[in-house]
Symmetry: C2
Subunit: 193 residues, 2 copies
C-alpha cells in the first residue's frame, strides 16, 4: 500500500452516490508533502519517458501538477475551462462534460504552449468516466504533440474511464485505484498494483 | 531587480487596456523553477511570521501557492469560485467582482479548513483593484484566523488595490510592482523596492 492509499483510508470519506471526498488533503486543502511523495512516484513510473512538459486542467489538478513538475524539471501548462478575454490568439479547444457540475465546458489551451516538439505528461487528481482526460488527450494530439503518459492521483476503478484510456494504448498510472467503496460502512478497497 | 522583474521584462507583453500578459511563465504556462525562487523570496520576507497555512484562489494562484508552500512546510487551501455539489457542510463565503471576466463570483472555503488557530499567508498571482484579495481577507477574518501576510507575484501599482490593503495595516509583499506600462512602446517600469 502506497502513501496515497494509506492517506485515503485515513482521511477519505465515502459518500452516497459513489462520491469519495478527499478535500482535506487533495483538492481543497492540499498536503504539499504528500504531493511531493506522489511526484517521486510518478518520476519512478515514467523514468524512461522523454517528458518536457506537464499538462493539467484547472483547478484541482494544478497543485499536484506543479509539485510533480519539480521532479521532472519541466514547465506546467494548465487547460482552462472557460474563455477569458485575456486569452487571445489561437487556441486548442475540446468539449468536456462534467458529471460533478452537471454541465459541459470548453477546455482550452493556447496553441503557443503546445507544439509537435512536446512530449507531454498529463496529470490530474481524479479519473472516473474519463471525460476531462479525453479532452486533454485530444488537445495534445491537436497540437501534434506526444502523450508520453498520464498520471492520476485517484482512479475510480469501477467506472469505465481508466479502461477506455488504457485500451487506447496510453501508459496510465493511477497511484490509488478504488475497486469498491461503501458509503454505509465507509470501507474502501483498492486494486492491487 | 529581482528574478521575476527580469522575467517580466523579458517575456511579459503589454497590451492595450492596461493588460500585462505573463501567460508564458506565470498563469497559463507556469515556470516551476521561477515559482521556487519566488517561494524563497516570500520565505525571506515573512521569515518572522508564525505561518501555518497558505490560502489562495483558483485557478492561477494555486500553482504559485503550492510551490511557495514547500518553503513554509504548510498546507495550502484554495478558495473556489463557484458552488460545487461535492462541497458540502458549512462554508465561508465572500462576493468578489472580477474585472477580467466582467462578473461577480462567490468565493468559498469550507469552514473546516480555517479556524481561529490558523495563521495565514495569502498568495495570489496578480493584484490590481484588490477585489479578490479583499474577499480572501474577509474569509480569513470570518474564520477568526489571522492574516500574517499577503504575497503577490505582480502588483499593478497604478491601480488602487495595493494601497488600500496596505492602509488597512497588512504586510503586503509584491515581488514586482508595475509603476507604469505602455502598450505602444512595450516599456514596463517597476517601483523601487
Amino acid at each position: 500500500m502506497n502513501i496515497l492509499e494509506e492517506r485515503i483510508l485515513k482521511d477519505g470519506i465515502v459518500k452516497e452516490g459513489n462520491v469519495l471526498k478527499v478535500d482535506s488533503f487533495l483538492n481543497h486543502q492540499m498536503d504539499i508533502d504528500l504531493f511531493d511523495e506522489m511526484g517521486k512516484e510518478f518520476k519512478r513510473r515514467f523514468a524512461d519517458k522523454p517528458i518536457n512538459k506537464i499538462l493539467t486542467i484547472e483547478a484541482s489538478g494544478i497543485g499536484i501538477a506543479c509539485v510533480v513538475a519539480q521532479h521532472f524539471h519541466v514547465p506546467v501548462v494548465f487547460a482552462k475551462k472557460a474563455k477569458s478575454i485575456n486569452l487571445e490568439g489561437e487556441m486548442y479547444v475540446a468539449e468536456v462534460e462534467s458529471f460533478t457540475h452537471k454541465c459541459k465546458n470548453n477546455v482550452i489551451v493556447a496553441q503557443k504552449f503546445l507544439s509537435p516538439d512536446d512530449h507531454v505528461l498529463i496529470i490530474d487528481d481524479f479519473l472516473a468516466n474519463g471525460c476531462a482526460l479525453q479532452g486533454l488527450i485530444q488537445i495534445v494530439q491537436s497540437a501534434g504533440a506526444t502523450v508520453e503518459g498520464i498520471g492520476i492521483a485517484v482512479e475510480k476503478g469501477f467506472q469505465t474511464g481508466g479502461r477506455s484510456i488504457r485500451n487506447l494504448g496510453f501508459q496510465l498510472e493511477s497511484l490509488a485505484i478504488v475497486e469498491s467503496m461503501d458509503a454505509k460502512t465507509g470501507k474502501i478497497v483498492f486494486s492491487e498494483q
